[in-house]
Amino acid sequence: MTDNIKNLAKVYGEEIELLPQDLYIPPDALEVYLDSFEGPLDLLIYLIRKNNIDILDIPMANLTNQYINYVEKMQVIKFELAADYLLMSAMLIEIKSRMLLPKPILEDDEDDPRAELVKKLIEYELMKDASENLKNMPQVGKNIMIAQSYFERVTQIEYPDVSVDELFDAWKNVLRRVKQFEQHQISRSELSVREHMTIILRKLNEKDLLEFSSFFDTDKEPIPKLVVCFLAILELTKEGLIKINQQSSSSPIYLQLGEI
């Protein structure tokens, strides 16, 4: 199923040839436009403004056709985009059919089935327009520069206090959010491996080249610690942070930072 869709996307060049004539987006630009719409309302506004349609008197049949054609193309190219867009298709079709129904003479516009959609469209366009304005305003950190000359502080700056508990809470927060929980499941053992990774990198930063055996003090260190240190070296190698070298089978093994 997904393969099918991907294949269609691959023959994308040909797909474009099949675009209906009343779709006003130039075929070549389709891919560019695809990501540039923020949602169904954005797409509708584009179609309306592009076609110089009076937003207060939208020709529903025409707009619905264009919209649906466009969404069909999007589905072919980028399937996951479709959900919000499909809901809008349904809404447009409903409005269109309500307008086709024979109806009593309207006393005022209040019964116009398009009214709610139109209000939504205008409200969104207002905000879209406002966001452009905001983006173009001068901003601190971008193009407003603030005078911030130096002055010498007499007393030492006091820093905020942080407890281990607060740090742990922050970590739990991160874990709660992380999707790949697996990768961030931490146990003591993994931590001590990570600590050793840091220790080894620090040593190698001071001296470019260190003998493998120099990391293992077999007399003093307990065996678990040696194991952890060894795991840290393997992990560092796996991540490409260090390199292990040996000239010949009997010569000493050296560790160095993963350069070269």
Binding site: I55, E123, L126, S131, I146, Q148, S149
Partner: protein, 212 residues
Amino acid sequence: MAQIEKIKEILEVALLTSSQPISVEDLGRLFIDKTDRSTIRMLLDEIKNDWQDKSLNLIQVASGYRFQAKSDFTEFLMRLAPDRAPNYSKAVMEVLAIIAYRQPVTRGDIEKIRGVSLSSNTLRQLIEREWIDIIGQKEVPGRPSLYATTKHFLNDFALKSLSELPELNSSLTAELSNTDENDIAQSSNNAVDSNIIVDEKDFSNNIIPPAK
């Protein structure tokens, strides 16, 4: 040097060395002897005039006064620090606009206006930038959080208050009032009304606590 000249000089150097705007109240804390606000305001006006033709301007933003480079210098200064602030996506800027103009709003309100669901990332980026924060819960089922812009947002956009935001596109608002019902027009009026309350409540927590 006359006493008043000395005070003026201290005000000037405080503003030149602070990366944050300083309120008139905080400027008063520079001096042990009580210096009244009207004097400080008068001296700030003088400083503003002194710098009129120079490279920096003394301007007033939501939380106080600051010196900032005149815009003619921006193109040069940006060469020194080309990638200072992150460039936000279209989605982030739209959400910011909705919160700025329609505050206080819930996540649901934002989703309704944009017609798409909102990733929590988007709100988080704005909260992290300290441009928006949560100012309460709406008393509806689920008690969704209400978002509003902060004083920091006004400072960063060099605004004194929300009323200085660029006006909404007038031809669109005209179209809106031409639609049959007045719902939207009304609800936007409501939003403006409720802003007044938010201004007072929300912004109080951004005041620098007095040094002990």
